[in-house]
Amino acid sequence: MNTSPEYFEFLCQMGDNTLILGHRVSEWCGHAPVLEEDIALANTALDLIGQTQMWLGLAAEAEGAGRDADALAMLRDAWDFRNCLLVEQPNGDFGQTMLRQFLFDTWHLETLRALETSTEPRVAEIAAKAVKEVSYHLERSAETVIALGDGTEESHARMQAALNLLWPYVGEMFVPDAVDLAMAQAGIAPNPTSLRPAFDARVIEAMIEATLILPDSRFAHKGGRSGKQHSEHLGHILTQMQWLQRVYPGAVW
């Protein structure tokens, strides 16, 4: 078992992304515009939480400090979370949620494909499991973004506004930090920069079909993956997600 701090951080990045997005998407449960979308969102959230159990479970093992996946999810504070800023952004309307999902799914799929050949067999196993679920998520989020972008005047305007709002959160996913460089050197994970061309190609292709215009700027908000500067939204998510374990420590289902 690799016990380097960078490996633990990397596993937290993977698990925190799926945990926070899974929680965000679950907020739609009972509120989606139609029943089928409600079910689809809840199932997507469920897949992401399932993947979280695998990533954070492995993170806890690698850390070797007696914590488990639940302790990492429910008892850390905002500065210990390593998710990118994109996934903690509020749901907005249904279109904004689906656009966030599309941007994340596109990054996620490229990342998992690369992780399938990780030198760490446990990482490769989780990636091989998750990649199939995520391909399915991307199929749906891409279709929905295209349908809404190339839809009515109203839906088009909302999707363009969502894209303008969320685009500045994309760059962070591809800027390597010390953890990424250590993982890339060990062959455990790809250098995120190497994923950008495939990501851009997939996004541009969908945006053309969706008749949406990508903002020119490459400005990127950063600070989520390092934990140094999460947006104010993460704290609000945690208060809701963690309050039960904080108030009743050790409570079980």
Binding site: E37, I39, L46, Q51, M54, K129, K132, S135, Y136
Partner: protein, 152 residues
């Protein structure tokens, strides 16, 4: 005396899937291994979808069924590799699904025909359904909606 693993496979073949009770956990292809480790019986189980809430119930049902057969110590091990695909579903499982009204998975990504009237005129309503392993489809002839066991 410890029962042999073949006998245990037979017992597991009688444990129904909690969500789709017409097929067993063996039909579903999620039991990956049965082995004795000393006095402990170790059962390797793989999840269909990583967040499937039925996974915990399945583990409990397997343990209960084996305790009922007199096996005292059972350990359920989660094994994620090789990942489950619908190829693991047995032929018997496919036949039982169709009879129950759930179209079995196909590599082409959609059901071959309506499980009620066998019409090939079928349309997708939603990529997701009542459980993580299903999608919702509708028949264009008998007009009935039905579940499709999705292929991943």
């Amino acid at each position: 005396m410890k029962p042999d693993t073949q006998t245990i496979w037979g017992w597991l073949n009688e444990v129904p899937d909690p969500e789709i009770p017409v097929i067993s956990v063996v039909d579903l292809g999620i039991v990956r291994g049965v082995a004795w480790e000393g006095e402990t019986l170790e059962i390797a189980v793989t999840p269909t979808y990583s967040g499937c809430p039925a996974t915990a119930i399945i583990a409990l049902d397997i343990e209960t069924a084996l305790h009922d057969r007199g096996i005292e110590t059972v350990r359920i091990k989660t094994q994620i590799s090789p990942a489950w695909t619908t190829d693991w579903l047995s032929d018997e499982g496919r036949a039982k699904l169709t009879e129950y009204g759930i179209a079995p998975p196909r590599a082409a990504g959609g059901p071959e025909s309506c499980p009620r009237c066998t019409s090939k005129n079928v349309h997708r309503i939603s990529q997701f359904g009542s459980t993580p392993c299903k999608a919702q489809w509708r028949c264009g002839d008998c007009l009935e909606p039905f579940d499709y066991f999705k292929c991943i």
